[in-house]
């Protein structure tokens, strides 16, 4: 697929590849999304705003320049911003494809990093020499100011122009906790949300600290997704319960919503509200308990995002999806086209004629 290289969240010509419960593929435009939503459904989006999580600076022991990409955190609590998991790159910036970036200096525990106004120490080197736990030494308010003023949105070489932070915020962006944009949500506008409600669907949100999607290092990429804290408001849990009770469908906008909802899901498909940390991997063998369909960006095989789609449809259907998307010139990555995948193993297929037995 061709990478989408312009930071437009709602291009007028955006496409939507639709795969129904039985694996049939149709090509639509993204404006058709609303027609796929039915009365009684609940559409769930991730309302995390994107942090400027790329911090340029110096590895003090060697004087080498580094780019630190914040990638994980223990909770969403606003005061809990001293410790992060981070991926470290050597000199250069997003203009160099990640796989060609020079390695950072050799990193050890207790190394100091000067990241603009922020001062950090390496607490630990984790499962990879470039994956670290770091601690900012600044007071909490100064950490927020430092991130807000010095940080830049994480970006990849396929978008040549520097992203502004507002390029990465969805219309519904709320608490700034995502390390990369929850970009499936770029489809959302307040107008669309209004239309969904008028169609008789409910709109709900979760907040999920979407992690980084790629590091340019195969070994490091295999560790993705890292653990991601999330929060499910009680109001969202109540809407999901009501949706189950009336046998509506749960439509997730993006992989992060699937990860959070499935992590919090009970066997009967309802979810626990409150804070949690999604630690699970979702893949071909995952039986989804809550989500009936996903609206997602297009993802390429071998990424953790693609693996998640394997929980919705069999591999042969996904291979067909890729061939179709290639043949029809779909654009990939966060500013690209979209796919809709119905869950082929949904209770509504397996229990046809007895839909209420699982509710």
């Amino acid at each position: 697929m061709i990478p989408a290289s312009i930071a437009t969240q709602r291009p007028r010509d955006a496409r939507l590849l639709v795969i129904d419960e039985r694996g049939a593929i149709t090509h639509r435009t993204r404006a058709d999304f609303q027609t796929l939503v039915r009365a009684g459904d609940v559409v769930v989006a991730n309302d995390a705003a994107t942090l400027p999580a790329s911090l340029a600076g110096i590895h003090v022991p060697t004087g080498g320049t580094v780019e630190v990409r914040l990638a994980g955190r223990d909770s969403l609590l606003p005061r809990d911003v001293s410790r992060f998991t981070a991926v470290v790159f050597g000199s250069g910036d997003f203009r160099t494809p990640t796989e060609h970036r020079p390695s950072p200096p050799f990193l050890r525990a207790e190394d100091e990093l000067r990241l603009g106004p922020l001062r950090a120490f390496v607490l630990d080197v984790l499962a990879h020499p470039r994956l670290i736990e770091l601690r900012f030494e600044n007071p909490v308010a100064d950490i927020w100011e430092g991130l807000a003023r010095h940080g830049r949105p994480i970006q990849y070489a396929y978008v040549p122009e520097p992203l502004a932070i507002w390029d990465t915020w969805t219309r519904i962006a709320s608490l700034p906790v995502a390390f990369e944009a929850p970009s499936a949500g770029f489809i959302l506008g307040w107008d669309l949300i209004d239309v969904l409600r008028k169609r008789g669907a409910a709109f709900a949100t979760i907040t999920h600290a979407a992690g980084i999607s790629s590091t340019g290092d195969a070994e490091l990429d295999r560790l993705l997704p890292l653990d991601e804290p999330y929060n499910i408001p009680a109001s969202t849990a109540a809407l999901l319960k009501a949706c189950r009770d009336r046998d509506g469908r749960v439509i997730a906008i993006g992989t992060t919503v699937v990860r959070a909802l499935e992590h919090a899901a009970r066997a009967n498909g309802t979810v626990r509200s409150g804070a949690g940390t999604a630690t699970q991997r979702i893949g071909a063998r995952t039986r989804l308990k809550c989500v009936d369909a996903i609206l997602s960006g297009t993802h390429e095989q071998g990424t953790s995002h693609f693996d998640l789609l394997r929980a919705f449809q069999d591999d042969d259907v996904l291979s067909r999806m890729e061939r179709e998307a290639d043949a029809h010139g779909y654009r990939t990555h966060e500013f690209g086209d979209s796919v809709w995948l119905a869950n082929s193993r949904s209770r509504r297929i397996e229990h046809e004629g007895d839909l209420r037995s699982c509710a």
Binding site: A49, V81, W144, S174, L175, W190, A204, A234, G274
Partner: protein, 244 residues
């Protein structure tokens, strides 16, 4: 309204280091709200921060596009969300006041940047948080500080009056549009107050005829309390459950 009605309410106030903005920081903090305030000058922010250590001071200029998201990020980092945004920071335009025909275009643009485009941008950046407050049972509110100059054509108040008129109309349209999201937007004229901005505009005014900003702040806080009507409390209860 008892003062506890605003306990835990998350409020952001622009132009929070002088005049009405400072009075609002004090009034709302006294009523138990969690307050973040924004102002352009570091020294002013430091001064108010030392007076009100519980409030969070943020340095930023709402007339600068590049400052909007850094301000929003710091507001949300300090408060964990937002229930009330008060767009109070205002620019008079050319000082001393001059007739429109003598107003430089750049001065008009500056008044529009601070009084119209800045509040529009900041409200947009924080709209997701305000909508989240509504979904969680809160009663989010945007207060745009207006003026009688927004409706009465006072000579020499052209840049200010035109920008406040536009803000007033923006508030009314937005209020209609956002009703379905449960977000209210109001435009409030606090009256002629004894503030540094008024002194700049009318240096020889009889200050004894001017309203104290503390009284105007109390009135605005009462409006906020009346809008909340207890629903803010249920939202903050949910937040407590979530954030503990």
């Amino acid at each position: 309204m008892s003062s506890t009605d605003q306990k835990g309410l998350r409020v952001a106030i622009t132009g929070g280091t002088s005049g009405l903005g400072l009075a609002l920081v004090r009034e709302l903090a006294d009523r138990g709200a969690r307050v973040a305030f924004i102002a352009r000058h570091h020294a002013d922010v430091e001064r108010v921060s030392s007076e009100r250590p519980a409030a969070t001071g943020i340095v930023g200029d709402v007339s600068r596009k590049e400052d909007i998201h850094p301000i929003a990020i710091q507001v949300l980092g300090a408060l964990g969300g937002l229930d009330v945004l008060i767009n109070n920071a205002s620019s008079l335009g050319p000082v001393p006041l001059v007739p429109l025909a003598d107003t430089d275009c750049e001065d008009l643009e500056r008044a529009l940047a601070t009084n119209l485009v800045g509040p529009f941008r900041l409200t947009k950046a924080l709209l997701g948080s305000l909508a989240a407050s509504a979904r969680e049972g809160g009663c989010p509110l945007v207060v745009n500080v207006s003026s009688d100059a927004a409706v009465t054509p006072y000579p020499r108040w052209g840049a200010y009056g035109a920008s406040k008129a536009a803000l007033h109309h923006l508030s009314r349209i937005w209020s209609e549009e956002l009703a379905s999201e449960g977000i209210r937007i109001v435009s409030i004229d606090p009256g002629d107050m004894d503030t540094p901005l008024h002194a700049l505009a009318v240096p020889d005014a009889d200050r004894s005829t001017l309203k104290s900003p503390a009284i105007a702040a109390r009135e605005i806080a009462d409006v906020i309390a009346a809008t909340g009507q207890g629903s803010a409390r249920s939202a903050s209860l949910e937040r407590e459950v979530v954030q503990q």
